[in-house]
Symmetry: C2
Subunit: 126 residues, 2 copies
DNA sequence: TTCTTATGCATAAATTTCTTATGTATATTT
DNA sequence: AAATATACATAAGAAATTTATGCATAAGAA
């Protein structure tokens, strides 16, 4: 007489969105573009916005975002306005006029870069 | 009576192609794609090819290229074949079967990234 | 009520991926 | 004879991330 033992394994598989590695150099452009459209955003809001727009494909890490915001501010491209909501700190950023001009440049640059990469990568002539 | 003195300045303006900053992370994809098309290339040839295809907009530096080739080889994505032409060394690289698979992945990744960036950057809805 | 998750900021260390600088050597063009 | 092109290589430095922490409050779940 054999005892039948059944093991049930419940394995949770975590599907990582591959956290779609940011191509280094594009974060500033993303920030600037979002601020061009929304006029006023705070850091956490930016991370959520990017996640939402890209269906979770792109996750801006805080370790990248906050230093980037500080640098853009130091360069005079952004200005900050600190407020308190629900007893919690919030730092709203918006483009300065310099920031507006730089945004246009960055967007042009990115468009050119994409065009170049498409020529390199999509053509069979390469 | 005034003496009239005319100065003629000849100024050479060097138009830098802005050396179109490579978005960090795309070099490997470029290398792999070129080898997918050409089956066999050597380092110097790759730099010239990229320059030609992009009308000089993209210049792969040797300091970036050679280490990248070595790494791809170490990872088993490329294999090398050393020859001598005109008494000068040449190292031909080509894709391994793993390299072929990885090329497809990298190209897909890039295409997705470009799509994502276009959504983020081109839409007014962002 | 307590624990976890979400919100909101921040920084430091490590890593990746380039640029810049330098080096060697041969071939070709000026 | 000197400069440029071809062909490789590596090291130091810079830039832009990731990963790992940390602190604090609010909201939701157990």
């Amino acid at each position: 007489m054999h005892k039948k033992i059944m093991y049930i394994f419940v394995v949770q598989i975590e599907v990582l969105m591959s956290n779609s590695k940011l191509y280094k150099g594009s974060l500033n452009t993303i920030i600037l573009k979002l601020l061009q459209v929304h006029h006023k955003m705070y850091g956490y809001e930016i991370t959520q916005k990017v996640k939402a727009i890209t269906n979770g494909e792109l996750n801006i890490t805080e370790g990248a975002l906050y230093p980037a915001l500080h640098k853009l501010e130091a360069e005079g491209l952004l200005e900050v306005e600190v407020t308190k909501v629900d007893n919690r700190l919030r730092k709203y950023y918006k483009l300065t006029s310099m920031g507006n001009r730089e945004t246009v440049n960055k967007l042009t640059e990115l468009a050119e870069y994409i065009k170049t990469m498409q020529v390199l990568v999509n053509s069979k002539l390469a």
